[in-house]
């Protein structure tokens, strides 16, 4: 039974959320309580499958899953002339890590959402789209097929756009969703053009197959530019960040936390293309510096735009942009020295590990921060910092969770943000000291900004209009507590996490030949 589950886990990760999503409208007609139980059941099963698959992948190495074959291991059918013709999921350590992030965040956010969104109407559609979003994220991070990547990207974009517009809010949320949707569609079309270029050139859509045939011609360079531009837009990096504040601030808070994970999935796609599809064939120094510059711009512009914001969720959205910059910086430095083994060993791997560690940390603490903002909105009905104050008296647990999230994002020692940022500082300093200094200054500005936010939300005397405000309901607190516990655990035992999860992921990402061999067999 266990063997069956592990063997079919990559398919189950897509199948479970999809069945859950399509059955939710029927089950929702029976009773809201049964619908909530059903959605939680599906999400629990998905999370367990992701954890099971991840434990197997970290133990036994890359696992592939061939859709539509008699046997899920049969990547290259005997009569196909050596070409993997079917859709293949290739789950290596990096994919498994992203799946775990998606599953844990999804689970925590769902617990929170069951109580936070209870008062709204149309919840069957809400949870249908929520589960479709999970399916889209899982598909994007598992797939080993470029066209399939595009399909899951579209599933994710459409589900997200629907959810951003969910609370109409006088048309403002619809406007944000429209902006997101138009930009996502443009980005997806750009990616489709790039995929068309690969298909015309190499007669293949499988990532491993294209990677093994990669020539880095002029056409490949054009395709690379298209894909980097589109995916950097999707993950909210600075010159293309303009959809992020609108979408993040107008979506319901539970969805905003999932949008953070969705952005990370796009970031994963960017890294996958650069490291697995091209690897050393591209001019690593140039492309590495492009990603570094995108990262530095995101860091600086994001944090400086965050400081004057009055809306707490807009402020957090700009911080999300800024934190994405750290991941781009770390992994970009790793890319810049790719192919140069001594430099790679001395700081390249650590930079990549720092960047990847920051992905998981960011998903946890930023999700936590957005959930606390949602809890505050749930009780007082505003996101405006100028109208808040004194909530520390009545919402103690929310305040504690906010402190944990804020200290983690600012990189203060006992929390996880410090662990990944320290790895990024150290390795980037060895590469180029100026970049490390910028990264530290941005961290200090982040801390300054969150001190201001903390003060205006929680400090001061109790305001008369919030006299009757109570603590957020227990399910919301449990959802936040799950994320807060991970933030603290990862901060207390960073070395164990890095050795156990992050280093295998970083090595899997930079090991192109291993990825190709897993699919095409011993090449």
């Amino acid at each position: 039974m266990n063997g069956f589950l592990i063997e079919h886990a990559p398919a189950l990760l897509i199948m479970l959320p999809l069945i859950g999503a399509f059955a939710t409208p029927f089950i929702g007609r029976v009773s809201p309580r049964i619908r909530s139980a059903w959605v939680i059941l599906i999400m629990t099963l998905t999370t367990l499958t992701a954890l099971l698959l991840a434990s197997d992948v970290f133990l036994n190495g890359t696992q592939i899953y061939v859709f539509g074959a008699a046997n899920p291991d049969l990547a290259v059918p005997l009569d196909s002339g050596g070409i993997p013709i079917r859709i293949i999921f290739t789950v290596d350590a990096m994919s498994a890590l992203m799946q775990v992030i998606g599953a844990i965040c999804g689970f925590a956010v769902l617990l929170y959402s069951i109580s936070a969104d209870r008062i709204h109407s149309g919840l069957e559609s809400f949870y249908t789209l929520f589960l479709l979003m999970i399916a889209g994220i899982m598909g994007m991070v598992s797939t080993g097929d470029l066209f399939n990547f595009f399909v899951f990207l579209e599933i994710l974009s459409i589900a997200s756009a629907g959810l951003i517009a969910y609370r109409i809010d006088g048309g403002l949320a619809v406007e944000a969703a429209l902006k997101y949707f138009v930009l996502s569609t443009i980005g997806a079309m750009v990616i489709l053009v790039a995929i068309g270029i690969y298909y015309g050139e190499y007669n293949a859509l499988n990532i491993a197959m294209i990677a093994s045939r990669m020539q880095f011609t002029l056409l490949d360079q054009i395709a690379l530019v298209l894909i980097i531009a589109a995916l950097a837009m999707k993950c909210g990096s600075v010159p293309m960040h303009f959809w992020t504040p609108d979408a993040y601030s107008m979506a319901p808070s539970s969805i905003t936390a999932m949008l953070v994970v969705a952005s990370q999935a796009s970031l994963y796609g960017l890294f996958r293309v650069v490291f697995t599809l091209y690897n050393v064939t591209l001019n690593a120094m140039t492309v590495g510096w492009i990603i570094i510059i995108l990262g530095v711009l995101s860091m600086v512009v994001g944090v400086t735009m965050a400081i004057p914001q009055k809306n707490v969720k807009r402020l957090m959205a700009y911080h999300a942009i800024s934190q994405t910059g750290y991941m781009l910086l770390g992994v970009g430095v790793g890319l810049a020295v790719l192919g140069n083994q001594p430099l790679m060993d001395s700081f390249g791997y650590i930079a990549m590990e720092g960047g990847i560690f920051h992905i998981i940390n960011h998903a946890m603490y930023k999700g936590l921060l957005f959930l606390t903002a949602g809890a505050i909105f749930f009780r007082i009905g505003t996101y405006n910092l100028n109208r808040m104050g004194g909530l520390g008296h009545s919402m103690k647990y929310t305040m504690i969770f906010f402190i944990i999230g804020a200290l983690a994002i600012a990189g203060i020692p006992p929390f996880n943000g410090f662990a990944s940022k320290l790895m990024i500082y150290e390795s980037v300093f060895a590469f180029n000291p100026v970049l490390a200094v910028i990264a530290m200054v941005v961290s200090i500005l982040t801390l300054a900004s969150f001190v201001k936010v903390f003060h205006s939300i929680f400090m001061g005397p109790k305001l008369p209009e919030y006299e009757t405000v109570q603590e957020a309901p227990a399910p919301m607190l449990i959802g936040m507590a799950v994320l807060a516990a991970i933030v603290i655990l990862f901060g207390l035992f960073p070395q164990a996490v890095v050795d156990g999860l992050i280093a295998p992921a970083a090595h899997a990402l930079s090991d192109q030949s291993g990825y190709i061999a897993a699919v095409l067999g011993g090449a």
Binding site: H8, M15, L18, P25, F26, Y65, F67, G68, A70, P72
Partner: protein, 157 residues
């Protein structure tokens, strides 16, 4: 406001033909150009003709949003179910378990030119039917929402 009696009667006459043509395209998806999506769209066009010719209120009782939404979800569940069937039998997800099995849609295609053997291709026709049901429901719901304000009152009144 409804359109003239001529148009309404024409729409009534066209509706069953649009329905049958759409179902034909869905069922022959594995043999001829088209398939579930295209056939479902043709069926939904039939609904569009009727709504435009009559008024939304006249049609709403016959083509109901609730039914169409249920149809959409049911089609999707059938699709995933057909794909998951293979898992239960020990093959990979989406494996074509019915092809050449001799049962439903399970005949093998004879050699040489033939007029089209409907009873072939395994789960592919089932998935076409599932997508057809889903698109029929989904597009009709979209049309119902889009056209719900149509023919309500005269221009400028």
């Amino acid at each position: 406001m409804r359109m003239s009696k001529l148009v309404r009667t024409g729409a009534d006459l066209l509706y069953p033909f649009a329905l049958i043509f759409g179902l034909y395209i869905i069922l022959h998806g594995h043999l001829t150009p088209g398939g579930g999506f295209q056939g479902g769209a043709v069926v939904a066009t039939g609904a569009a003709i009727v709504i435009v010719a009559w008024a939304y209120e006249d049609v709403a009782g016959m083509i109901r949003k609730v039914t169409m939404k249920a149809q959409e979800s049911a089609g999707l569940l059938l699709f995933i179910g057909a794909a998951a069937l293979a898992l239960g039998l020990g093959y990979a997800f989406f494996y074509n378990v019915l092809a050449n099995s001799g049962s439903l849609f399970g005949l093998s295609v004879p050699f040489g030119p033939n007029p089209g053997e409907l009873n072939t291709a395994g789960v592919i026709p089932i998935m076409n039917i599932a997508v057809g049901i889903e698109v029929w429901g989904g597009l009709t719901v979209i049309l119902l929402y889009l056209l719900s304000g149509l023919n309500k009152k005269e221009e400028g009144s």
